[in-house]
């Protein structure tokens, strides 16, 4: 047997799914090499035979056929092996040192395009991105349907290759942002990017930033709207969402699908989200401040009823609220972990039983439960899960400051958070801009 085949075989024979088949194609002896977990051999061979037959009927030389089915290589064992790992089929022409790298019929490993799993849409397009990067790019192409769409692909990582794609609309995307992105990707192309932290490292973003630099979306419709507004999409193979860069504060309030409603409704929906973020940040801190530091701010009747609801609660407001907030975070985290069938049970146990019992046992006040419920509900109105998590974290800053300084702490917390948000940027594009298209003139 030929040297090339021997070499490949010696390197790959430890793998049970490595397949080596002899066959004839257009009266030439060939050897097929590939993984049968990645390549559907039966179908691929049928395709090959059909190719060969049509070529024979037209009386064309076999050389044409080889060129038609794939890329011809001579020798080059390493390239052959890496192609096999990528799921390609190697067709070795017997008694020569030539082989063909062919794109075979692959086994179905990707799920089909389905409805989004983590983002709900009311009255909007329902398809969602999947794990396969090519399918995702295809969906975007179909939606944009214009020559403006430019796509660049990179193969990143040292040993385990990962495909990264960059999509933008020519003439819309900010050139400086693109230049920065491309230079960072090319500089760090050997870094591992199997997760967003890795990608952030590759792109040179600080790893201690509390707000994600990527705005993620599962919905192709949203992603394309962002493209039209001059943003850039990144796709990583095997991640079923688009990463929109740069991410902006306004994304917490605005969802593209809002535009499917009449304008007044859209404004109302967005103001609800703004109220939501304010309530999430303020109410827990306000409770602590009013109960433990500045009760005189409230009208006397209200102050009395607050005091009454806290009657018998044996510890300070800060401990009380941190205690309940942590339990709430636990419930949220648990309901993410649990299988869908058990999830509702946790909600019931956590929400109804715990909430009711904890009040009756006089461990926390009634009012606190109401505030926590309001906070959690308000937090869920924020668009984007990543954003919601960040805001969830910020409220603790305010709670702690409010427990020390009362209302002054509440306000200083807001100032700090405001300054923090104002200080974020992506390659010079401030987080507070409403829109990155064009230049800064429309920035906030």
């Amino acid at each position: 047997m030929e040297q090339l085949v021997q070499e490949i075989k010696s390197k790959l024979e430890n793998n049970e799914d490595f397949l080596l088949q002899r066959d004839y194609l257009a009266d030439t002896a060939i050897i097929l090499l590939g993984f049968n977990t990645l390549v559907d051999f039966v179908k691929t061979r049928a395709v090959l035979q059909k190719h060969a037959e049509s070529h024979l009927l037209q009386n064309r030389p076999p050389e044409d056929l080889w060129n038609a089915i794939g890329e011809l290589i001579e020798g080059n064992v390493n390239k052959a092996i890496s192609s096999i790992y990528e799921g390609k089929l190697i067709i070795h022409l017997a008694d020569t040192d030539r082989s063909i790298i062919m794109e075979p019929v692959s086994t179905m490993l990707d799920r089909s395009i389905e409805t989004p799993a983590n983002e709900n849409v009311i009255q909007g397009a329902l398809n969602a991105f999947t794990e396969g990067i090519d399918a995702n790019i295809g969906i975007v192409r179909k939606l944009v349907n214009s020559e403006e769409l430019i796509m660049a692909s990179y193969s990143t990582g040292q040993n385990r290759k990962k495909k990264l794609s960059l999509l933008y609309l020519e003439g819309q995307a900010d050139t400086e942002l693109l230049k920065n992105l491309e230079s960072h990707i090319e500089k760090n192309i050997h870094q591992d990017i199997s997760d967003l932290q890795g990608l952030a490292k590759m792109l040179g973003f600080p790893s201690w930033s509390a707000i994600s630099k990527f705005n993620t979306t599962e919905l192709p419709h949203h992603a394309v709207q962002y493209l039209k507004k001059g943003r850039v999409i990144l796709f990583i193979d095997r991640l079923p969402f688009a990463l929109i860069l740069p991410s902006l504060l306004w994304d917490m309030f605005a969802i593209e699908n809002d535009r499917n409603f009449p304008l007044p409704i859209m404004i109302a929906i967005r103001s609800i989200r703004i109220i939501g973020i304010l309530i999430t940040l303020i109410t827990p801190g306000l409770y602590v401040a009013l109960v433990s530091v500045n009760p005189e701010v409230l009208q006397i009747q209200l102050a009395l009823s607050v005091a009454q609801s806290r009657e018998g609660v044996p510890y300070p407001a800060l401990v009380e609220i941190i205690f309940m907030l942590v339990i709430l975070e636990l419930i949220l985290e648990a309901s993410v972990r649990l299988p869908k069938s058990i999830g509702p049970t946790i909600t019931m146990v956590g929400g109804i039983i715990l909430g009711q019992a904890v009040v009756e046992a006089k461990l926390v006040s009634n009012l606190l439960i109401i505030i926590l419920a309001a906070t959690t509900i308000a937090n869920s109105t924020i668009a984007g899960f990543q954003n919601a998590v960040s805001i969830r974290l910020f409220k603790y800053v305010i709670v702690i400051l409010a427990s020390i300084y009362g209302l002054l702490g509440l306000v200083s917390g807001l100032v700090i958070i405001g300054a923090y948000l104002a200080g974020l940027d992506t390659y010079g594009k401030s987080y507070l801009y409403i829109n990155v298209k064009g230049n800064e003139s429309n920035g906030r």
Partner: protein
């Protein structure tokens, strides 16, 4: 460079609002017993004249801040003008932190120790200042969105108990010019405007917009004095420590669940003051790092903040704050008058030189 007039306008409004409502009404009320409109008007006029001269002067030096302008003119000039400005900034930092912490303790945090409040104010302003001027301005925008509506709402409700007859007698005289408190009241006019000369390399703005912002402030200047006068009358309001705050304290809004609306008013203003402090620290650091380029600005900032914090302990009570306030008045007028005029003068001179050369 992008036009950031909106940011500059908001910052201008924010930093002045933070200064107007506290000491200014008390100073004006005690400077005259009737016809308060005249002292206010004189102050506003002076304010307008000097910011106009200042900006006119600055427009001869596009994209340069006043540190560079002065150092290009000559070393002597730089010392003559930059040193007082730096001293003035340090004094502002010291006085503002100390005075506002005192006000906070008096009004609503009577049990929190003074140092804790000062520490909070200084560390927040240092944090914001460390992020640079653009962040200061963007933060200003966010804070304006959050707190400006509250301030304007409460400003309007503060007319609740007004009796317009107290505005009489209307005739005024210039007797206030002999009163010390009147000059102390210029704190509200002269504190904020210098930043226009510092941000030029970073942001561009239109002169007209700044003048609009200053015009927007006029009703606040007038009514911060007149609301307490119209609520309590001159005789009573001159006995109060912070007349406008007391007047707001007298508001009663039934449908609001809060009893003390003052609190929210004060807190919003204090958030503006924190930003103002950040801006002043940033300006002071700009000056310092121009002359000490080898030290990193962050270190200078930390050193300055620490110095201000510890100097605050040297001021034991409110009497000393007032004394400092008075001493600072000389510096304040120097800065208010000399800086705009000198910039304008150097600008004219440079323009003359240029046109001579081209001819």
């Amino acid at each position: 460079m992008a036009d950031k007039s909106l940011h500059v306008m908001l910052m201008y409004i924010i930093s002045h609002l933070g200064l107007i409502f506290f000491m200014y009404p008390g100073n004006i009320i005690s400077s005259t017993s009737q016809g308060h409109w005249l002292p206010i008007l004189v102050g506003i006029l002076i304010h307008f004249i000097f910011i106009f001269i200042y900006m006119k002067g600055l427009s001869y030096f596009p994209k340069k801040d006043i540190i560079r302008i002065y150092s290009e003119v000559g070393k002597g000039t730089a010392i003559l003008f930059i040193v007082p400005v730096f001293l003035y900034f340090s004094m502002i930092l010291l006085i503002t932190v100390r005075a506002y912490s005192e006000i906070i303790t008096i009004v609503f945090l009577s049990e929190t120790p003074l140092w804790a409040i000062m520490l909070l104010m200084i560390s927040i302003s240092a944090y914001i200042a460390s992020k640079g001027v653009e962040v200061i301005f963007r933060t200003g925008l966010l804070l304006a969105i959050l707190f400006l509506p509250i301030i304007i709402f409460i400003f309007f409700t503060s007319f609740q108990n007004v009796d317009w007859r107290y505005a009489i007698p209307f005739d005024a005289n210039f007797g206030f010019l002999t009163k010390r408190t009147y000059y102390e009241g210029f704190f509200a006019f002269s504190g904020g405007f210098l930043f226009l000369g510092f941000v030029q390399p970073y942001l561009s703005y239109k002169r007209k917009h700044v003048l609009w912002a200053a015009a927007f402030l006029i009703p606040f200047f007038i009514f911060s004095v007149y609301v307490p006068v119209l609520t309590f009358g001159q005789a009573t309001s001159s006995t109060t420590f912070l007349p406008y705050v007391v007047a707001v304290d007298a508001i009663n809004i039934n449908w609001l669940m809060f009893d003390r609306v003052t609190m929210f008013f004060l807190l919003s203003l204090i958030s503006f003051i924190m930003l103002f402090l950040a801006l002043v620290s940033w300006k002071a650091i700009r000056i310092l790092s121009h002359y000490l380029p080898s030290i990193r600005p962050v270190k200078l900032l930390i050193a300055l903040s620490a110095a201000v914090f510890f100097s605050c302990f040297l001021i034991p009570d409110w009497k000393d704050v007032e004394k400092l306030f008075w001493w600072n008045t000389f510096l304040r007028f120097y800065v208010l008058v000399a800086i705009p005029l000198s910039i304008f003068f150097f600008g004219l001179r440079m323009k003359g030189k240029d046109s001579n050369e081209t001819v």
